[in-house]
Point group: C2
Chain length 319, copies 2
């Protein structure tokens, strides 16, 4: 029997990433193209044409492709309907139906953070786990919940949206979602930088503008600088890291009380800070978590930006 | 082919409840016996003997029994191992293995709150739902999470333990689990009564012992009296109900951000107060919940004390 392949697609607002995989999960080739942003029709036609063209170039005709999995930056309900994808400007779209116009192949879609979780569970840090929750710390905070090796999409596409757990009723600054005090406001790259800037301004004001932290040396403070300064022993940066760890650790304890996964995996740009992140999360997590889940391992993601294409391929392999 | 039956068992510290069901899920007979508390061996032998004896009395020999499902008051891990059951004084017990000594039949076990959820999802308020989360408001607060019609037990037996979400870092009174500020301290029957008594004492002290609430008329305040007074328009009781609704509604918003179920079902003794409970929960739930899950229905349980035997039977039907 001729070898069959699957294609995993990670659809972003700027780039579309593609991965061509053997059905065993072995990555054969990966590539990316700038997203054609002129509307859903054009973007989906672009995906279909890229898949066919690149597979043919590798010697795989359409009948050798098992299917195409797509991770989309938006909520997908339990029927596979894309509810909304704000970054693409799309809403209420039956992506699988639309793709049929361009490609006569099985298509599966899911939310991109969920798909990344599936990639990590099968091919990355969560390899061998039946259940896993991945938290993606990027511009926002996303998440993906895997139970019995399958994604939990949620009845209304809201599963794994842990960035919007309301963690602080006293917050005065609104979150992008309209609520106040969401986890994302403290644990995303943007949130960590915001907390650091606010604290720095407070401390500088209280000290008449004198040197209070190594963070003052930077023109722009990002999460990277905060954790670099934590590693250098800067007290203010460590205070920011404590707040990050307390808020995220507590949120993970909530997740554990609902689904009690075998493992947590931390990904996204912020996770580049490394093991130091885990230190701050673990101590708060274990103090808040209920007895059975107190020692759930928290690990760093391993697939980086490839988690999306791996997970999207896995969507097809699971069908 | 001769009709086959399944037996659902709800093992409690005081009584063991049994239900004999057709494989269609139709209840043929239910009964209960006082629990033989002289140790796991004796209790399990008692269950086996009741099953065989009662089935025979109804004309069903052992070869007509499809299996026995048991809900146990403790944590059960993903391998079916009972980790601990404090009310029975049991720990680390392979119940299925032990039952084999007494009964040559398939046996399935799960945590009792989880099993009750399964009963409601299949035969009660959640009929027709693929996913559902049930919250049991009794002496404590228990929960059960159903995804794709199956129970989520959790990797370490901690799934659905939402009674121990830490909701209030400022709490000074410890919870039975050792933490402070757990949901259970505000939303269980015990918790509601405690909040009411504390508030009543405060208001009475501030008013020189004068009449401040209809709750003063009772020798003992329980959750029932609180909600009776809410229905009568008592202001203090309504304040207690607001705190109940705010804490539980917020906790449900956390659950929705993790698994986004089709429905929430509220059971346990406190749920006897009826629709008034839902009113207080819904408004806070929808204000805290993230967009996709804002309108998830919250319903009252329908099976009452029978949820356990129905769900235990369902454990076998799912195998």
């Amino acid at each position: 029997m001729k070898e069959r392949i699957v294609v995993g697609v990670d659809l972003g607002g700027t780039f579309i990433k593609f991965g061509m995989f053997q059905t065993s999960g072995k990555l054969l080739k990966k590539w990316q193209v700038p997203t054609d942003n002129s509307g859903p029709e054009a973007t989906l036609a672009q995906i279909a044409s890229e898949v066919v063209k690149s597979c043919q170039a590798e010697g795989y005709q359409q009948d050798r492709i098992e299917g195409v999995g797509i991770g989309v930056p938006g909520s997908v309900d339990r029927h596979g309907m894309l509810i909304s994808a704000p970054n693409l400007g799309w809403s209420m779209l039956d992506v699988r139906q639309e793709m049929k116009k361009h490609l006569d192949l099985p298509v599966a879609i899911a939310n991109d953070a969920n798909v990344a979780a599936l990639g990590e569970q099968y091919f990355g840090a969560g390899e061998g786990c039946d259940s896993m929750v991945m938290i993606t710390l990027g511009t926002g905070v996303g998440g993906g919940v895997i139970i019995n090796q399958r994604l939990v999409a949620g009845a209304f596409g809201g599963a794994g949206e842990i960035g919007h757990l309301v963690m602080n009723d006293a917050e005065t600054v609104p979150c992008t979602c309209g609520n106040r005090g969401c986890l994302e406001q403290y644990a995303s790259a943007t949130g960590i930088a915001r907390v650091a800037r606010t604290l720095l301004e407070e401390k500088m004001a209280a000290n008449g503008g004198k040197q209070v932290s190594g963070l003052q040396a930077y023109d722009t403070i990002t999460a990277k600088e905060v954790f670099d300064e934590v590693k250098a022993g800067d007290e203010l940066a460590m205070e920011v890291a404590e707040q990050f760890g307390r808020t995220l650790g507590k949120a993970l304890s909530y997740v554990a009380s609902v689904v009690d996964p075998e493992m947590f995996v931390i990904g996204g740009g912020v996770s580049a800070a490394g093991e130091v992140l885990l230190h701050y999360m673990e101590k708060y997590y274990s103090s808040y978590a209920f007895a059975p889940s107190k020692h759930t391992p928290i690990r760093l993601a391993r697939l980086g930006n490839d988690a999306g294409i791996y997970g999207a391929a896995r969507l097809i392999l699971l069908q």
